[in-house]
């Protein structure tokens, strides 16, 4: 029998397993108390479900195999949010508002170079049917309370908006994925190289360089909100409104920072995007945002927003309940 370990896949034993369950329970209590219902989607789903409106980055992380029983293709989920979109568009299609939480393993097709792993224990919260800022603020509040429940100190929520990125690269001959990939490294020189062979006008180029330089905060946004396009203005207005409301609601719990260069983990977000950080944790603790466009791809037009995180990463970063 071949008992050789599988690259990037491992067992959780003893104290590590019990710590995960304890953290999972504490967070589930938090979400249940906030009026969210638990759902448990299966580990496998159809590839088209997992990749509908989700972009190339997620497809690149999806393990697909043929199912002898069904004679079709199945995929191991790399992310649970698309399954929530499927549930909302099918089995729970008659509910106007859905507030759901989940927690379970996901598998990525490729090793994470930093952790050497391709498994995560994804937990998350999705708020569907609540439009605009109200839904987003509810999600931000739960995200910050999640970090505090897990014992993280001085949480910081970085807020951006995918509409800003889309508006800035509108008219570029490069795909949005290419810009997002370059912006994720925040290297102005790399952006300059991309701009050198692009037809984007100088003003948009300068603003993209600001994003890479990390100076695209709330004051920058106020200064440029009306100078790019109607789409840019609309996204800026949404972000101003969200920032203002979130500051009122989350006052004292968490530091809120607007940064137009905040990017989603996968490319299915179309509105607000958020990354959560805390002192002592080396990488973002959570990712989230608004994904109305993905719901459209699933055949149901409804507002949708949420966040998710990896419980194993949280334990490694010192989460304690």
């Amino acid at each position: 029998m071949n008992v050789r370990p599988i690259a990037g896949i491992s067992d959780a034993l003893g104290i590590r397993a019990s710590l995960l369950r304890r953290l999972q329970r504490a967070l589930q209590d938090l979400y249940n108390d906030a009026g969210y219902d638990e759902v448990i989607p299966p580990i496998v789903d159809r590839p088209e479900t997992l990749n509908a409106g989700a972009g190339r980055f997620l497809a690149d992380q999806t393990l697909v195999f043929s199912d002898p029983a069904d004679a079709g293709l199945l995929a191991i989920r790399p992310d649970i949010t698309p399954q929530i979109a499927r549930i909302a568009a099918t089995r729970l299609q008659h509910h106007e508002v859905l507030k759901l939480h989940y927690s379970g393993p996901v598998i990525h097709a490729r090793l994470d170079a930093r952790t050497g792993s391709r498994q995560q224990w994804q937990a998350g919260v999705e708020c569907l049917g609540v439009p605009g800022c109200e839904g987003d603020v509810e999600i931000l509040e739960l995200a910050s309370r999640s970090m505090l429940t897990a014992g993280f100190e001085r949480p910081v929520m970085m807020l951006g908006h995918m509409g800003l990125i889309h508006a800035l690269v509108e008219g570029s001959q490069h795909e949005v994925e290419t810009w997002v990939s370059r912006l994720s490294r925040r290297s102005p020189e790399d952006i300059e190289n991309l701009l050198a062979d692009d037809r984007l006008d100088r003003e948009r180029g300068t603003l993209l360089l600001d994003l890479a330089a990390g100076v695209a905060g709330i004051d920058w946004l106020r200064a440029h909100a009306h100078s790019v396009s109607r789409h840019f203005e609309q996204a800026s207005d949404e972000l101003f409104q969200l920032y203002s409301l979130a500051r009122e609601r989350l006052h004292g719990q968490v530091e809120l920072v607007v940064d137009a260069a905040v990017l989603p983990r996968f490319l299915y977000h179309s509105g607000m995007v958020v990354q959560g950080f805390a002192a002592g944790a080396a990488q973002p603790l959570l990712h989230g945002g608004r994904y109305d466009a993905m719901m459209h791809s699933h055949g149901r037009d409804m507002p949708a927003t949420g966040f998710s995180f990896d419980l194993w990463s949280w334990l490694d970063a010192g989460a304690e309940v």
């Binding site: 930093r114 925040r186 290297s187 020189e189 330089a213 990390g214 950080f277 080396a282």
Partner: protein
């Protein structure tokens, strides 16, 4: 007592010599003589950055390890070569090109092989390098199967003893290539050293790191 501790990882060797004048110009040079000490962790000055008292600490480590220390959050920022960033793709920000340590990542080979022209698509060659990923990508994009031999140094020797037909390595002046009868065939990337920053540090120590980036940008442009 400082309000904030800022840890900066510096690459040992040639890059360190070029980094120190930038740190001095920014007023944040290490207190010890870095070239003579054997300490791996050094104190820097305590300075005011946007009204925050910041104690600076330096880690002196191998160039290839700077990315790891910054990605893992053991250092808030660091100085790393673009070659390491491209090869290892750490999850860090790269906000500033320090314009030091300039060189090129090149393909080179024995003069007679290079004179015969680049390998044809569909062919197979053996390449010695420490940049396995970048080399594999480069040849894959040209439809050439590259058998990669990973070496840790002195790449130029591999073609001389018949172990490889090409090398992929950093070239500064080209004198080592010339001394060993090798010539450049192609440039993959222009390389320089960059200031890199841990993403979580950028979020939680934003004001301090923005000030640091500004000071170093002024030093680079001076």
């Amino acid at each position: 007592m400082a309000d904030c501790l800022l840890t900066i990882a510096l690459s040992k060797g040639r890059i360190l010599k070029q980094t120190l004048p930038l740190l001095e110009a920014a007023g944040i040079a290490p207190a010890d003589d870095v070239s003579s000490t054997r300490k791996l962790m050094l104190d820097g000055p305590t300075v005011d950055m946007a009204g925050i008292s910041v104690a600076i600490r330096y880690l002196i480590i191998r160039a290839a390890d700077v990315c790891t220390y910054v990605e893992k959050g053991a250092a808030d920022a660091g100085v790393a070569g673009r070659d390491s960033l491209l090869e290892y793709r750490p999850q860090v920000y790269e906000p500033l090109d320090l314009k030091i340590g300039r060189c090129r990542l090149c393909v080179a080979g024995p003069a007679r092989l290079v004179a015969a022209g680049p390998p044809a698509p569909g062919s197979r060659i053996t390449v010695a390098t420490k940049y396995d990923r970048l080399t594999a990508e480069y040849y894959l994009n040209q439809g050439i199967h590259a058998d990669i031999i990973h070496l840790y140094g002195s790449m130029e020797l591999a073609p001389l003893v018949g172990m490889a037909e090409r090398i992929v390595d950093l070239v500064e002046t080209g004198s080592t290539l010339k001394a060993n009868g090798l010539v450049e065939e192609a440039t993959l990337y222009d390389i320089s050293s960059r200031l890199i920053v841990n993403p979580a540090s950028f979020a939680t120590k934003r004001t301090v790191l923005q000030t640091l980036i500004g000071k170093l940008r002024d030093s680079v442009n001076a």
